[in-house]
Amino acid sequence: MNHATLPVGMLILVICALILFKIFSARRGKSLFIRRIPGLSAIDEAIGRATEMGRPMMFSPGLLGLGLPTLQALSILKHITTIAAKYRTRIIVPTCDSVVFTIAEEISKEAYTNEGVPEQFNPDDIRFLSDDQFAYASGCVGILNREKVASSFLFGYFYAESLILAETGHQVGAMQVAGTPAITQIPFFITAADYTIIGDEFYAASAYLSREPTLLGSLVGQDYAKAVLVIIIIAGIICTTLAGFYPSWHWLTWMDWFKPVSQ
Amino acid sequence: MTIFEKLQHIDRRIMYLLLLLVIAWPLIWGMDMPIMVSPAVKGVYNAVEKMPKDKMAIIIVYWGSGTIAENRPQVEALMRHFMMRNKRFAVLAFDPQGSKFSYDSAKIISSELHKTYGKDWVHWGFRPPANLIPLLQSFPHDVIKNIGTDINGTPLGKLPVMNGIKTIKDIGLLADTTSVGELDYWIAYVHGPYRTPIVYGPTAVMTADAFNSLDAGQINGLLPGMQGAAAYEKMLGRKGFATKATGALSSSHLLIIALIILGNIGYIITRRRQEQQA
């Protein structure tokens, strides 16, 4: 689909409107409920563990360049580095993309400055390893082993290297919290990491961690948008079933709005 | 620690060593495993059988050292089949390593079956992937002019194997072996407009998607990864690398399953004993 058809455009606009509406109503101070997400609650525990053991942590923002999953990963990174700076726990961030690397460096620098300890920031801890998938993985394996990492966070878009990172992390005894929107990699995180954030819990993470009204509102808006999709799908199922019995009911053709256009 | 507790905590190094052994054993000594020939593989075999002798087949090589274990047996089985039936084929590579690997394979099989390069088969060499679409658009109209030279730089017009091959109408079959998944382009630019039959050799991960194209009749047959190549070898009546490698594939799966069962036995018995004690 290269261009929005009218119904598709409307659908997207409705979704956006719901999200924006909820964001602005949350900003006006409406209190919102979010259910517990165990994996995300474990982040603080993992930071605490590294602090107690006096060993560093590792955070991998995934393999994608600057994209939406990476932006989400970076905002989780911001939460983690802020706490890490508070407790003076080292956090090593290996990246595989120059632009992501630069933003990660900025985030860390700021976290330390905000805690009033800018001198604690070590530029060597935010590293660009390589933009080659497996060179990056081999570097991460090296870091996990040599730095005796106590906690490892894997957030972002991962490909096949997910299991290399998670299993090595397990072998060095790190506590691992992982989450990715790359669905086919989630099983590997589930088997190897201690806590896994599943599916779009990943996009709920920053709201859950920061409790900022904008993000909470957005999360509730996303729920409404999903509800819209559920309603459309249920309606579609009922209508295709009916269309099978009553082919003459032409109003049922609304389902074709979503028919793939050849292009 | 009782034996059942130990079963729950087998050292990973032992597992890794076992894995290496169960993989190397069938590769070196061979291991007879039942191989099923699926309709998808039969489709490939039949497509090759049906290709008229006055036409030529093109084998596309779009893979490198990473997936050599999956794609090379597919290519070798195809080459062998063409040579056994005295049908002409050309190899066209979009990966520099794959180009070399497929050329080596073809040379070995051709000397085994007493065929001559340039007369019975030809290797068109490597073309950069960026040229794929321009090439797809141009070569159907004039194969010799748009492909130009073979892997050794010889102009195609000088090779007897190219006699009578002018346009895409003289190409009887396209065999796409790939780790990239550019099948859609071949369907869009070649199968769609000219109805040239296509058979497909993807890697195992890409197989699920490929069944859609098979259902839709866009491809005539499919070799799912290494296993597909093994089934093809079975149909050709010659056990090659894929047959051995399928043994390794089966044994490694069986190892995982055995380890999972052992771990669970240890877990269940230990838990039962703890419950009894408590």
């Binding site: 261009h3 929005a4 999953p69 632009v99 460096e105 299993e167 599916g199 948008a225 | 050292s65 380890l259």
Partner: protein
């Protein structure tokens, strides 16, 4: 379209001061390099002076504005109805932006390489433990880079063989080796995780078991006693595994994708409109 063309002519005429008129296609590369650097310094200098004048309190708004403007062409191109060819008046422009972004992004590679160099040079100069590894890094880096350029600038048998040797022997071989370690890890992960500890774990185990067996010939052989046609054929392992992958698995994946895509859309919306106050950069500018 007309506006864009006019803008293009205007830029071509006035901005690249050195290249305009003085350099023609076919001039030697060093002349072009000089021209480009000259242009860059003048344009960059002017831009820098302008930006310096922006008062601190407007900087944030300026960035927010640019973020919004950066997204406008893409969004508009999508929502604007297409004409016959499947394109609209913005399609070509958007494709050009794509090229430009690619180039822009490539210039950023220097940041990453600089960080790598700094890290390894630091260790090397201070002779920290393991400094010979850092030396090996530099040797490998420059050898590979030079071999690549030598082969593309001066293509002959030696250069091409040396390049193939280094690429095939190091980059490609180590890459596929690292990739294949997943084969080992998948064994230890499966062994450890697939225990019937809980209902969830058992479900996962069961599905993995059936699919694993269904994928290899042994599995097909195990249930080959079941007739190939009829109702019972569904119980043949290869069919069962196919069904699991194509029915429940696909449905579950689709359910997850809907949520993920909406999450991504919300993220995009917040970024585009700069609603996420200081999610990346908080510091006062």
């Amino acid at each position: 379209m007309y506006i864009l063309a006019t803008l293009k002519t205007f830029l071509l005429k006035w901005f690249p001061i050195f290249t305009h008129g003085m350099l023609k296609p076919g001039a030697p590369w060093y002349a072009w390099l000089g021209g480009i650097i000259g242009d860059f310094l003048i344009i960059g200098g002017i831009l820098f002076l302008i930006l310096r004048m922006v008062p601190a309190r407007y900087r944030k708004s300026l960035i927010a504005l640019l973020t919004f403007l950066g997204g406008v062409p893409y969004a508009l191109e999508f929502f604007w109805p297409a004409s016959k060819g499947g394109d609209n008046f913005l399609s070509l422009f958007v494709r050009q932006i794509g090229d430009g972004t690619n180039v822009l992004y490539s210039f950023a590679l220097g940041l990453g390489i600089f960080s790598l160099m700094r890290f390894h040079a630091n260790n090397l100069i201070r002779k920290r433990p393991g400094w010979h590894n850092n030396l090996a890094f530099f040797v490998a880096f420059f050898t590979m880079m030079l071999a690549g350029f030598a082969n593309s600038v001066h293509h002959n048998a030696v250069n091409s063989n040396v390049f193939d040797m280094l690429f095939g022997g190091i980059v490609s071989a180590l890459g596929s080796t690292m990739f294949s370690t997943i084969g080992f890890f998948i064994v230890s992960a499966a062994y450890r995780a697939f225990r019937i500890r809980s209902g969830e774990a058992t479900l996962m185990l069961a599905a993995a078991f059936v699919v694993m067996l269904g994928q290899v010939p042994v599995g097909a052989w195990m249930t080959s006693g079941i007739p190939e046609n009829g109702v019972w054929a569904n119980l043949r392992l290869e069919n069962l595994s196919y069904w699991i992958l194509n029915q429940p698995n696909m449905a579950a994946q689709r359910g997850m994708y809907f949520g993920i895509e909406i999450g991504a859309l919300a993220m995009a919306l917040r970024t585009w409109l700069s609603l996420e106050r200081g999610s990346f950069f908080e510091k006062e500018l």
